[in-house]
Structure formats: structure tokens, C-alpha cells
């Protein structure tokens, strides 16, 4: 039994390494196609776009979000803004009234029903060729929309384009750690874009052809991850999703571990359950890299992180037990050997070197992501916070999401 568990350990290490190498090979293949534009660009044709801002109790940030959209470099007569109050209990509705003076802004209020219902209300009301959503905690760069729209102009097959999401002025350690993580996501998302295998079209300003919703139907509740479900549905129907790395959206991220934990449990829970809902998409040639790489890689990362964590806890328990035994036997005392550290006792097993390779690849991907989002400042401290905080906390939100999944399914077994 222990031999099986041990070889599983190497299988997980191998698969984790495989995922990183796959992304890096994709980067090397496509590196020349990555463009980072500076300054303003022009389109030959400006289609109509509606940007929906669903908000629920976001009195503090929503005004800035809408202002960032009003300042967008895009013809005013082609851009409509829907600010949709989803039954806020604070003063969000009063705050958004100030924007009614703009011709291209419409405000809505409705009973609280969840983000997807707010978006579906907007979808019903719009006649634009393109629709987008911008979460009320995010702010768009003025050039972001036009750069995204250029992708649709370049390739008529493209059905949705998501931007680079960047952490807005990180303050706390938790936010700084997320900064490094989001930089890495820019890289991963771009690579998945090249593979045609993006699995989430995030709330911060992903632009869709309206046709997507006309063909495939409106947003669904989808375990509170409607932006993931729509991407799965698009992949199922062969609708192409691209990633525009030089369109920047700045987003507010959770300040505390507790809030981050809650957010991630929701994300991972959404991933697990959408994957279960769309399990028929797995390992089918028809669905391409989405089916063979993106979703399996997500599963591998959840399973192996959980496994490695349990293994670590187990080893820690064993060593703690022997420490306690020593304490009971000889009392508090440091053996002489504890003073002179001998390099001989430094464990140079396979795990050490694989871990080093994994970290090198991880740091490389953060650096490439920073380069793609045009942020040249290297912040090794953020990377350190990311590695330390995530390796301690992430296993817990993974396990909680798994636990919730199993627990929530219980009733249906009866």
C-alpha cells in the first residue's frame, strides 16, 4: 500500500511539472505572436458595445468603475453603459443616479437575484452587437476596450475576448501575493488563448459577441461562477475565446485571508461543479486542448495540491510524535549533533530537484506575465509572499471546496 502511495506522489509531481512545461512550450511556439501595443490605436469599423455593470452593495467603488468606462477611448455613440443595481441594501442605487445625466448611460434596479440575473436583465435590454460586463470593483484602462475590439476585427471567428486582470494598488501582504498570482494568470490565460482552451471569461470586461447569448442562451446560476459556465458552454459549442494581453483592467482584490479564502472556495467549488456538469467534454478530441489540457490540468492541480498537503501533514505528525517521545524520554535537551550542522544530512532526493525546477518554471511564468502586462518592475517580495501564503492556505480552500461538493451532493444520493 505504501508503495502505491509513494508512486502516486511521483505521478503527481510529474503531472504538475507536465502542466508547466506544456505552457512553456506553448509560449515558445507562439512568442512572436504576442503584441504589446502602446498608445492609441484605430479600428476600421466601430461596432456597438454595451458594457453592463452589475452591482450589489458597491456604493464605495461603483462610481469609479462607471467613470473609468465613461473615460474609455471608444466613440460615445457606439458605447452604451448599463448600471444594474441588483437589489442593494446600501446607497448604491442613489450613487448611480448621478450617471443618468449621460446620454449613453442607463440605470436599472431590480430585486436581488444574483449576478447572473442582473446580467440577463441587461442582455434583454440591449441591441448592441457586442456585450461586456465590468464588475463594480474593477476599473478599466481607457485603451482596454478598443484593444479588445481589435481582436474581433482581426479574426471574425473570435466570439469572446478577455483582458489582463491586474491587481489594483496592492496594500496588504495578501494583496501583494495576489499581485504575483494575477501576473502569472495573464501568462496562463494568454497561453490558453493560443490553445483555444480558455475556461473562464472573467467578470472584469470580457467582451462577447451578442450572438453568443442569442445562440446559447443567457447566463446561468452555475454554482455562483456564471463567468466560468458560459466559457464551458462556449467551448462545448466550439466558440472561440481569445485573450487580449494588452487590455488592462484593474481590480480590487480581497484584503484579508478570510475574504480571499471565501472567494477561492467559490472559484474552486465552481470549477469542480461546472466540470462535473460538463464532464462529457473531458478527453474528447472534438473539444481540443480544453478537453485534454485545461480541465485536466485544473483537476491535477486540485488533487495533487491536496495530496501533497496531506502527505506533508502526515510527515509533520510523525516527526512531531518522535519529538514528543524524545521530550518524554530525556526531557528538554539538545544533543551535541544539533549544534554542528553537517551538509551530509541535507536531503538531496528527487523531490528537492523537482521542486526547484517547478519553482523556476513558476517564477518564469510570473515574469513572462509581468512582461506581457507591460509591468517591468520585478517584485521578488510579491513572489515570495505568493509562494509562502498560497502554499499554506490554498490546500485549505481546495479541501473546503471538495468537502462542499461532496456534502452538497449527499441529498441527491438518497
Amino acid at each position: 500500500m505504501s508503495a502505491v502511495i509513494n508512486s502516486l506522489f511521483y505521478v503527481f509531481l510529474f503531472l504538475s511539472l507536465y502542466v508547466q512545461v506544456f505552457l512553456l512550450v506553448t509560449f515558445i511556439e507562439n512568442r512572436k505572436k504576442i503584441v504589446i501595443r502602446k498608445g492609441q490605436i484605430k479600428l476600421s469599423h466601430y461596432p456597438t458595445v454595451t458594457v453592463m455593470v452589475p452591482c450589489w452593495n458597491e456604493e464605495k467603488t461603483v462610481a469609479r468603475t462607471v467613470e473609468s468606462l465613461l473615460a474609455m477611448n471608444y466613440p460615445k455613440d457606439k458605447l452604451t453603459l448599463f448600471v444594474i443595481d441588483d437589489g442593494s441594501t446600501d446607497s448604491t442605487w442613489e450613487v448611480i443616479q448621478q450617471f443618468n445625466k449621460y446620454e449613453n448611460v442607463r440605470t436599472f434596479t431590480k430585486e436581488n437575484g444574483g449576478k447572473h440575473t442582473a446580467l440577463n436583465l441587461g442582455l434583454k435590454e440591449t441591441n448592441s452587437e457586442f456585450v461586456a460586463c465590468l464588475d463594480a470593483d474593477s476599473f478599466a484602462d481607457p485603451e482596454s476596450l478598443i484593444r479588445i475590439m481589435s481582436y474581433f476585427e482581426a479574426n471574425p471567428d473570435v466570439m469572446a475576448v478577455s483582458p489582463s486582470v491586474i491587481v489594483e494598488s496592492p496594500q496588504s501582504l495578501i494583496q501583494k501575493a495576489q499581485k504575483a498570482e494575477y501576473d502569472m494568470s495573464v501568462y496562463i490565460k494568454k497561453m490558453l488563448g493560443f490553445l483555444g482552451a480558455i475556461h473562464v471569461t472573467p467578470g472584469p470586461l470580457t467582451v462577447f459577441k451578442k450572438k453568443v447569448f442569442d445562440d446559447l442562451g443567457p447566463y446561468r446560476k452555475a454554482h455562483n461562477t456564471e463567468d466560468m459556465e458560459i466559457a464551458y458552454r462556449m467551448q462545448k459549442n466550439g466558440y472561440k475565446i481569445e485573450q487580449c494581453n494588452d487590455a488592462y483592467i484593474y481590480t480590487n482584490t480581497p484584503k484579508t485571508v478570510k475574504k480571499l479564502f471565501k472567494q477561492r472556495v467559490r472559484w474552486i467549488y465552481g470549477f469542480i461543479n461546472n466540470t462535473i456538469d460538463y464532464r462529457r467534454l473531458l478527453f474528447k478530441k472534438k473539444y481540443g486542448h480544453f478537453s485534454f489540457f485545461t480541465v485536466p490540468a485544473g483537476i491535477v492541480s486540485i488533487v495533487s495540491a491536496t495530496y501533497l498537503f496531506i502527505r506533508m501533514i502526515n510527515q509533520f505528525t510523525v516527526s512531531a510524535q518522535s519529538k514528543i517521545l524524545a521530550l518524554q524520554t530525556t526531557g528538554i535537551y539538545l544533543p551535541e549533533s544539533a549544534y554542528n550542522f553537517d551538509l551530509y544530512f541535507f536531503n538531496t532526493g528527487v523531490l528537492l530537484f523537482v521542486t526547484v525546477i517547478l519553482f523556476v518554471l513558476l517564477i518564469t511564468s510570473i515574469i513572462i506575465g509581468k512582461w506581457m502586462s507591460e509591468d517591468r518592475r520585478l517584485s521578488p517580495l510579491n513572489i515570495l509572499y505568493f509562494i509562502v501564503i498560497y502554499s499554506v492556505v490554498a490546500p485549505f480552500w481546495l479541501m473546503k471546496a471538495i468537502y462542499n461538493t461532496i456534502f452538497a451532493q449527499k441529498p441527491s444520493w438518497r
Binding site: L17, Y18, F22, G196, K240, H289, L325, T348
Partner: protein
């Protein structure tokens, strides 16, 4: 759409690259593992040389004064080698090389024990000896505790020489010792102190008292022998 085309070759290529990275990792791990084994072998060779040299010296000078017997293989060195071997077994895997080194180590301990006994008896050095038998075949927390107590005792009494033997060592010399002291694998850990066999875990204080007694005993024996010699003259 060109990127969207599904291509098996990429998966195979990435598999090969990942495999190569893994192979590099295991090559490096092996390389350092071998270095550690070499380090063990070097320590062992030094100790073996020391013992052999002391034996020879002892044989040469047995007729002469004890002052000339210079014994340099310290108990600490043997203990360090023991620790490293134990760690190596756990972390380097049960390679043939490590297994061989372990047997050799057991043999060196026996030789050291016999030589030290002789020197002590003849030259009046104050040493006490403990033979310690344990098992690694099963989870033996009493053995672990006994090991800890013995290390602590050895630090307190540098003249205490502890020789530890894994019950399952497949070496005729070790098997002979097991027979001599009638050590059974059901009664481990077992300690031999002045021909007395103690089984099971013994607390620090109990062993300390016995060891102190043993020091006195050795001294008395030597004194008695010297007296006899004087009487003979």
C-alpha cells in the same frame, strides 16, 4: 483557428521534455546520494585503519608499558558514522552499498569492543561498555527511546562506549553475539551491561546508576589485577 487544431505530437513532446527534467532530477539526486555513500565509506575506512593500527600496536607492545598504547578511534566517531548510516538507510534507499556498509560497521563495532575491553583490562583505562540490540524490522518506539537515553548518557559520560546492533543484521559475528547473550527478537530493545542482559525500556536514572557502578567495577578489577601482579613479583 490554426492553434485550435488538436495535435497529439505536442502532448508527446511535452511528455518527453518532462521525462527528461525528471531524469535530470533523479540523476542529480543519485549523484549526491553517491557522494554521501562515498563519505560514509571514507569515514569507515579511517575507523577501520585506526582499529587495525591499534590492534597491531597492542600486539606489538603487549609486553611493554600501557603508556605506549595510543588509541585514537573515539567513540564519537563511531557514533557519528552510526547516525549517518541510519539516516542514509532512511533517505538514500536500501541500496546494496549502504547495506554492505552497515554490516561492515557492525563488524567494526565488535572489533572496537574487543580491543577496548583488552586495553581497559590491561591498562586500567576507565571505560564502561554497553551493547545495545534493537530492531528496525517493526515499529519499535521503546528502541527509539532507548537510543535517545543512550545518546544522552554518552554525552554525559564520554568514557561510556555504546555499541548498537540491528537484530536483523545478517552477519555471522552479530549472530554469534545474539547467541552468546541469548537475545530474542521478542524482547527488544536489549542492553548488555557487564554481562547482565536488560530487556525493554530502561529510564535514564536506572542506567546511569548501573553505569556508574560499572566504572567502579572496572577500576576495582584493574586494581585487583595490579595487586596480583605485584604479589606475583
Amino acid at each position: 483557428m490554426e492553434n485550435n487544431k488538436f495535435d497529439w505530437r505536442k502532448y508527446v513532446l511535452v511528455f518527453i521534455i518532462t521525462g527528461m527534467l525528471f531524469a535530470t532530477a533523479s540523476y542529480l539526486s543519485n549523484y549526491f546520494g553517491n557522494k554521501k555513500v562515498k563519505e560514509l565509506r571514507d569515514i569507515q575506512n579511517t575507523i577501520a585503519l585506526d582499529i587495525l593500527s591499534s590492534e597491531t600496536q597492542y600486539a606489538l607492545l603487549s609486553e611493554l608499558s600501557c603508556k605506549n598504547v595510543n588509541y585514537s578511534a573515539l567513540s564519537g566517531e563511531l557514533a557519528e558514522l552510526g547516525n549517518k548510516l541510519e539516516w542514509g538507510e532512511e533517505n538514500l534507499g536500501q541500496t546494496k552499498e549502504v547495506d554492505f556498509l552497515r554490516k561492515y560497521y557492525a563488524l567494526l563495532q565488535i572489533k572496537d569492543y574487543l580491543l577496548m575491553k583488552k586495553i581497559t583490562a590491561r591498562c586500567g583505562e576507565q571505560y564502561a561498555f554497553v551493547l545495545y540490540f534493537y530492531t528496525t524490522a517493526e515499529n519499535c518506539s521503546e528502541c527509539e527511546r532507548t537510543g535517545l537515553v543512550l545518546s544522552k548518557l554518552r554525552e554525559k559520560y564520554p568514557e561510556l562506549r555504546v555499541y548498537s546492533f540491528d537484530y536483523s543484521t545478517e552477519l555471522s559475528a552479530v549472530e554469534a553475539m545474539l547467541r552468546i547473550y541469548k537475545i530474542e527478537d521478542t524482547k527488544l530493545p536489549a542492553l548488555v551491561l557487564d554481562d547482565e542482559v536488560l530487556t525493554g525500556f530502561r529510564p535514564f536514572e536506572e542506567l546511569e546508576t548501573k553505569i556508574q557502578k560499572s566504572f567502579n567495577l572496572e577500576t576495582k578489577e584493574v586494581v585487583a589485577e595490579e595487586d596480583k601482579q605485584k604479589a606475583g613479583e
